[in-house]
Every structure is written in C-alpha cells, then in structure tokens.
C-alpha cells in the first residue's frame, strides 16, 4: 500500500486516508523525500484529517520525515489533526514541538506561503 503524493506548483500535498501500518509509513517517508528531490519542492502539506490514531511509531516517522525534508530544504506543515489524536499524543508524551501545524489544508497552504516568504 502506498500513500499518494500530489504535486501543486512548488508544493506537494498528501492526504492520508488509510490506516497506516509501519511499512506504509516507512515507504511514505522514502517516497516523499524522493518526490521532493525530483520536483525541487519547497513546501509540503500532510493532511491528517482522516487519521484516527497516531501511535509513537507513526509519530516518530512523521517527526523524522519533517526533519529530513527540512535538511533537503522543504518545509512541512501538518494539518487536520483530530481532537482525539491530539489528546492521545499528549498522553503518550509526544509533543511534536517545532512542527508547523494548521487547522486544515487551506490554512496549511497559507502557513507555507508565510514560512517560505512567497
């Protein structure tokens, strides 16, 4: 199973719609970095509206892919984190500090424009 990555001008858009298992998460990490490289993308929005659970493994993969993208010169914004997911992450002790977030895809794109000064 692979998570589709859409290209929009200089940006990449990802909406995670399926239950993520560990392999899918790792595959996504690789796919995203390759796409950033291929397209020279400057920004990425990962929309998590349909994601019902984020456990410590998925949180680590997300946090890592944000740092990796940053190393390559692309900014990542996470959007649409559900209330139950936010509550659970804090219970788990995962704070995802320094990760840019926004309420939804639209605001995520606005945040990217701001972060990138475009």
């Amino acid at each position: 199973m692979r998570i589709p990555i859409l290209k929009l001008n200089n940006y990449l858009l990802i909406s995670i719609q399926t239950e993520i298992d560990d392999n899918t998460a790792i595959q996504f990490q690789e796919d995203l970095l390759n796409k950033i490289h291929q397209n020279g993308s400057s920004g990425v929005v990962i929309d998590l509206t349909s994601v019902e659970i984020i456990d410590s493994f998925i949180a680590k993969v997300l946090g890592d892919v944000i740092s990796m993208s940053d190393l390559m010169g692309a900014k990542v914004v996470l959007t649409g984190i559900q209330p139950a997911v936010a509550l659970t992450l804090i219970d788990l002790g995962i704070h995802l500090q320094d990760v840019p977030t926004a309420m939804d895809l639209e605001q995520g794109l606005v945040k990217l424009y701001q972060e990138l000064g475009e």
Partner: protein
Amino acid sequence: MEPQSFVEIKEEWDIVGARQMGRNIAKEAGFGTVDQARIATAISELARNIYLYAGSGTISYEILEKMGRKGLIITATDSGPGIPDLSLVMEDGYTTSGGLGAGLPGVKRLSDEFDLRSEEGKGTTVQCIKWVR
C-alpha cells in the same frame, strides 16, 4: 462477563488488526471517540512491543462489569525474552529499538489501571483497564 476475544500478533500488519478490533470493541462497549483513540493507541503500542521484542504473542480483550461500571481489559501476553529492568522501561524516553521510548509509560497514561509483569526468559504480560465514563 462476556466471552473473551483475542488477536494473535505474528506479523507487522497484525498490529493494525489488533488496534482496529480494539477500537470496534470499545465503540460497541460505549466508549467515547477520545477513549476509543486512547484504547486503539495503547493496543498499537502493546502489539508493536510484542512484534518487536518477542516476535509473537496475543492481545486479548475482555468486557468487565463491576459495581455498575463497565470497563475493557486489554491483555498483551508473549513468551519472549522478558524485561530485565521493569523500572527502566517505565521511564519516558528509554528505548532499545531506536523508537521514542514512549511505549509503556505512554500506555500507562492512556489507561485507567495498568499492570506489568515480566520474567526473564519466560515472557511479559501487560494488562490495562479502561473504564467507560
């Protein structure tokens, strides 16, 4: 007491199966969406521990009714190598697998009651209870 159900953890994909089943059972038992997410997340952590450290094991689910309260007991059992130092694994950030070290202390915070037993060379059992609010 309703009959117990369980999921065997043998492959990585079983982690997803275990948490989906847990979520469904929690939903039927009347847990709210946040507690369903807490239960599913706790199961995901426990199932991954089984897969990573013991190779195989089971996650079982049991509905508990006590003094007018309804709860869900989740038990993770394996016959793996066991945990040599129980206090160490309950420390936030301790990991031997390169993960976040959020697993067991996180599961404890997600649960209302938590019990960890382990014997070196014999295996580990983690039991947690969540009560319907």
